[in-house]
Structure formats: C-alpha cells, structure tokens
C-alpha cells in the first residue's frame, strides 16, 4: 500500500515550483501570485493526505530513498528522504497550516505592494520545511534546517523599512545560528564516531539502541546535548528564546505559520527524530526535561505581564514548546509530538485570530482594545475555542495533550509535575486576561469602528477551530491509539486520575481569576502593580534577558572588536610602517652614492671590473 508514499519526494517540489514561478513573474502579477502560492501548498497538502492514508492503512515499512551528494574517497555524504509515521504526520500539519495561512494572507496582505514577494517567501519556507520533515539523515536535515531559518529571517524582516523589523530579523538569525553551530558540531561528532560515517536516522536508531556500545556514554551525552542546543535555538528554549518574541515584527500570518505551528516545532521534531541518542543518555534526558520545564514556567510568567497581543502569544508559544521538550525529556515521545500536533492548530488559530483583530483595530496593545466580542463574532468565538484549548479545558484538543504530559510527569518527576501545573495555571490566567480585555468590556477609541474581517480570513479561522476542537481525540487516557501508531505499539496510554483532576482544576481556576479581574472587574487589575511594582516590571521586561545579553555578550564583543581594530591599525600597521621607514632610510643612504658625477660612476664601474678580473683570474691560483 505504498503507492503514494513512493512519490513523497514530489511534495516539496510543489511549493518550490510555486516559489520559482513567483520569483520569475515579479511583482506585477498580484492575483496570480496569490493563486500560485496557494495552489502550491494545496497540492502539497493533498499529496500529504494521501501519504497519511497510506500510513494509516497499515504499511509498517518506512519508505526511504537517498543518493550520494558528495563522494570523497571512502567517505560519502548522502541526501535523501524518508517517510515514517512521524514524518507523515508532520507533512500533513505543515502543508495544512501552510495552505490555511496562504488563504488567510490573501485577505490579510491584500493591500501590501509586495504581496507576490510575500507569497514567494512563504512558498520557499514551505518547501524548506517539507524538505526538513522528509530528510532521512542529519546532513540534509541540517541543510533544510538552515533554509527554514533563513526564510523565517526573510519573513520577519518582510517590512524591511522598519528598523525594528530589521533588528528582529537579524536577532532571530543570529540567535538561532548559535544553536545551529551546536547542531553542526553534533553532526561532525556523529560523522566521525558512527560506524561507516553514516548520518541517517535509521542507522542512528540501530547504533544507539542502548546495547551496542559502539559509542561511549560521554560522547553520546555530548552529541545529545549539542543536538539539543540546535533544538533550543530553533524552538526558543531558555536561554536562546529571546528572538522569538521579537520575531513578532513579521506579518501576523507568518507568526502563525512559522513562529507557532511549524518551524519553532522543528526543534521538538529534531529531538524526536534523534530520540534514540537521547534515550541512551540519562543526563541529556534530564537536561532536556529541566530546561523544558523551566522554559515553560519562565515564559508563562512573562506572558502574564505583556500588553502586546502578539508578544503574549509568542511567550505562550515559548512556554508550550517548553512543555513539549519537558515531555520528551521525561521519556514520552508521544506526549511531545502529540502536544506539537494539537498546539500547531490552536496556536495557529490564535495567531490568525490575533491577525484578524489587528487588521480590524490597527493596534497590538490589548489595553487599547475591548468590546470586540459583539463586533467580530466569528473571530471572538474561534479565538475563544483556541484560548480554551490552550488553557487545557476538556474536551478541547489542548487538554488531552497537556494531560498526557502532566500524567507522565506525575508518574516520573513530581517536581516537574508541579512546574507543569503552575504553567498550566499561568497559561489559563494570561489567556483569560487576553480574551476578556480584548473581547469584553466597553469599546475603546480604537475598536469602535472595528468590523469583522472578510471571509478569506474568517473561513481559515473556522477550519482551524474545528481542528482545535477535534484533534485531541486521537489520544485520550482511555485510548492510546496515537502513541501506538507513532511508536509502532511501544507505548501505552497513561491514565492518571490525579493529573486529570489537577489539570482541569488549575485550568478552571486560572480562567476564573482572569474573569474576576478582567471580565467582571471585581478585583482591581492594578492591585498587584501597586503592591509589588518590581515584580511587574521584571516580568514586563522579560526578566531583563535582552539587557543581560547586551551587557554580557554584545558589549564585550564590540569592545574586543574595537581593541583588535586598534591592534590592527597601530601594532601590525605600525610594524609595517616601521619596516617601510627602515627600507626607505636605507634607500636614501644608498642614494648618496648617486651624485650625478659621471666620473664617480665610471670609477665604480672600473672598481667592479677589477674585482671581476681578480675573481676570475685569481681562481686559477687557488688550490
């Protein structure tokens, strides 16, 4: 039943062709551009669905096809694609969100003069992301990993005339590049340690099965941590998360596509792809779990104090990515991927909803909004579904995946269970704050003239809302089908009543408090600010991470740069000048012989001639 899977390599080609056509067409064909871009992602989505049906209908063999990219002597570097259950799932998620965002952008970006460029970048991104998902080895994975990074960079800086967008794009690229350097080193390590220098995931799986012992424990840990460094950069884990909130300078559909649903999840996907390496090293697993847990609570608390709607969602994304990482670190591949899957839908929904709001009110500050619920009904309802899903309220999708992670934490690591619960509480709180401030209350100056967005923008919202509602039922405490499918039957359903009750309780509690403060306004929202101003300020400034980096890394780097520049000019240049001066002095001294007197020259010639004669004739008399 592999008739579609064999053609999986075609999937990335659709958006690639779309990108090439869009680039060749230029800017003038606005409508055609939108059409071509959407068509490319639609075709890719259709193809991915077919492949998913292939996988669902029970083909167990992973499809793999690869070819030599570079062959040097005995070493070969290969490029190839592979379809497993995990990649089939990711294919569908990526192409679906990409298609929805394509449709949505037709409305959102309608008036932008560079809309075809935008569609071209989105198509290029979709191509790279699909290539990344399909890669069968770490090298081709890395290649596409960098490409998605650069697409993200291009799209963050899409409105390039704004200095803030420029700074955000640069920051995103450089911070993720730090992680990428780690991933690169991991690949180099693997290349030299793996038998036959193989880099493909299948071989990695068989080498790191816990028994072979081909690679020592220390090296395994090192490799795992370096890979995780790469994942940290892309997936915004502490302390490399700083770029993700700034990335919100890009157009909102991009925040939904790249910085919520797909690219930032690539780090989680990477860890899942190389999970066998991590499972071989307890230290690495623990590191991931704790960094993930810390990121989750850290970002969730920041989100509480932000006022920019997109920044709240961005910190929420960071926090949820931390959740996924924590699940992976606790040993649950299913938990991580399941949450990735559900999160992709409801977070894309939230971002697109936010885009719809921003489109209507032209501000991003939630304090300037209010009363939008009656004016934008579709947006409000779909946003509510997304917010509830994120807050983990049953039976929405977010509940099931969050519950799975919490129940695993309950069984393995009580500390992280508490952290997870606290995060869930914060999540519910900031989402209810966001919702009530935006949609309830009195209309403000900015929102009084707001109208519901066009169908091009609301239909995607409805589709995503349906998915956010339903996507969770593939894995419930009573039905571990998804985990079984993903792991070939290796994992069983986790069923912990404590976790279920606790997660529902904190979720409801968070929403209730949020409603009290921001909905009913029976508790003053400024009470906390008045009592502990330092805490609010610290949260608003995101724990001063940017300032910290500026002081610890950027400044010293600039200082070193200036010092070395001075060194280059004065020391090295000085030595050069000194040498030059010495030569020129010597030349001036020698030039004194040149006095313009023909007779002196003649004398010199005669002396030289005599020396020659003596040398030639005199040699005969030597022994």
């Amino acid at each position: 039943m592999d008739k579609y899977t064999q053609a999986a390599w075609i999937i990335p080609l659709f958006p690639l062709v779309a990108f090439l056509v869009l680039t060749a067409l230029g800017r003038s064909y606005r409508r055609a551009g939108v059409f071509i871009g959407s068509l490319g992602s639609l075709a890719a989505f259709a193809m991915s669905l077919l492949i998913l049906t292939d996988r669902l209908s029970g083909s167990e063999v992973d499809y793999n096809h690869s070819f030599d990219w570079i062959a040097i002597g005995d070493y070969t570097l290969r490029i190839g694609f592979e379809v497993t259950n995990l990649t089939a799932l990711m294919l569908v998620v990526v192409t679906l969100v990409s298609f929805i965002v394509n449709v949505y952008s037709a409305g959102y970006m309608k008036d932008d003069e560079r809309i075809t460029v935008f569609y071209g970048y989105v198509a290029l991104f979709t191509f790279s992301m699909l290539g990344l998902v399909l890669s069968d080895n770490l090298l081709s994975f890395y290649i596409f990993w960098e490409l998605v990074g650069v697409c993200s960079f291009l799209l963050i800086g899409f409105w390039f005339t704004l200095p803030k967008a420029r700074a955000a794009a640069k920051k995103a690229f450089i911070v993720t590049r730090i992680g990428d350097a780690g991933l690169l080193l991991a690949i180099l390590l693997l290349f030299w340690y793996m038998p036959d220098h193989a880099l493909d995931f299948t071989t990695i799986q068989s080498v790191f099965d816990g028994q072979s012992g081909a690679i020592t424990n220390g090296i395994t840990t090192l490799i795992a941590l370096l890979i995780f460094l790469g994942a940290m950069g892309k997936s915004g884990q502490f302390p490399l998360h700083v770029w993700l909130p700034d990335a919100m300078e890009g157009p909102t559909p991009i925040s939904a596509l790249i910085h919520a649903a797909t690219m930032v999840a690539a780090g989680v996907f990477l860890v899942a792809r190389t999970y066998d390496i991590f499972q071989d090293s307890a230290a690495a697993m623990e590191t991931i779990a704790y960094i993930g847990g810390f990121t989750a609570i850290f970002a969730a608390t920041i989100a509480l104090a932000q006022n920019d709607i997109k920044r709240i969602l961005a910190y929420s994304t960071v926090s949820q990515l931390g959740y996924m990482m924590m699940a992976l670190g606790l040993g649950s591949l299913t938990g991580g991927i399941f949450h990735l899957f559900t999160h992709a839908f409801f977070k894309a929904l939230l971002f697109l909803g936010a885009g719809s709001i921003i489109h209507a009110v032209h501000t991003q500050n939630i304090n300037e909004m209010g009363g939008l619920g009656s004016k934008m009904k579709v947006t409000a309802w779909t946003f509510a579904i997304g917010a509830l899903a994120l807050a983990g309220i049953p039976p929405l999708s977010g509940f099931w995946s969050k519950d799975l992670i919490l129940s695993i934490a309950w069984e393995t690591n009580p500390l992280l269970f508490v952290v997870g619960l606290a995060t869930a509480f914060c999540t519910a709180l900031y989402m209810s704050r966001l919702f009530f401030l935006v949609f309830t209350g009195k209309p403000s100056a900015a929102t009084s003239g707001a109208k519901e967005s066009s169908a091009l923008m609301t239909v995607p919202l409805v589709v995503l809302a349906a998915l956010a509602l339903a996507a969770g039922f593939i894995e419930t405490p009573w039905n571990g089908w998804f985990g079984g499918w993903l792991n070939d039957g290796a994992e069983e359903a986790h069923d912990s009543a404590v976790a279920i009750v606790a997660s529902i309780a904190v979720g409801l509690l968070g929403i209730y408090i949020g409603w009290l403060v921001y909905g009913k306004r029976s508790v003053s929202s400024s009470a906390l600010r008045e009592n502990t101003p330092w805490l609010v300020r610290v949260l608003e400034r995101s724990y001063y991470m940017d300032e910290f980096y500026a002081a610890v890394i950027v400044k010293p780097l600039k200082l070193i740069g200036s010092a070395l520049t001075a060194f280059d000019i004065y020391v090295i240049g000085g030595i050069v000048r000194l040498t030059g001066a010495a030569v020129s002095t010597a030349g001036k001294t020698a030039a004194r012989l040149q006095n313009g007197q023909v007779q002196t020259y003649g004398l010199a010639a005669v002396i030289g001639f005599v020396i020659l004669v003596v040398a030639i004739v005199g040699r005969r008399f030597l022994p």
Partner: protein
Amino acid sequence: MLPSYLTMAAILFCIGLYGALVKRNAVVVLLSLELMLNAVNLNLIAFSKYGVAPSLTGQIFSLFTITVAAAEAAIGVAILIALFRLRGTVNVDEFNKMRR
C-alpha cells in the same frame, strides 16, 4: 714582440682611464677617451701581426675604430660646446643635473 706592444697599450689605456676619471676639464676627458680608444687600436694591430692566428681583420677593425672615434669626438665636442654655451663652464664637476 707582442708583450711589449701589449704593455705599451696597457700603459696608454691606464693613462687614458686615469685622465677620464680624474680630470675636471671636459676637453681633457674627451682627449683621454681618445687615448683609451687608441690603446685598443694598438692591441688590435699587435694581435693581427703577432697573434696566434695573424690576420688582416684586426687592422681593418682598427680602421673602423678610428672612424668611430672621429665621429665620437665630433659629437662629444659638439655637446661640449652646447654645454659651454648653456652653463659657461667645461668643468665636469658642475655637470650633475642628471642627478634629479
């Protein structure tokens, strides 16, 4: 016989060389050059008469040399006169304008 001719030529040449390098008066320098040329001529003739393979070629060459020397002297004196008109002196020490 050859050595005495050669010695004679060598002495003439050395006198000429000395004069060319030491004398200040440009006319004397020119005369010294002639002296050296004639020393060479003497050598040529001596070899053509008493050399290992005597031949008339040497004497013919000395005729050439004399012609060339005449031309050289003419040009040299012409330059000298031009210089004298320009600078008012024939002292070679003062002819160092080529230095710059």
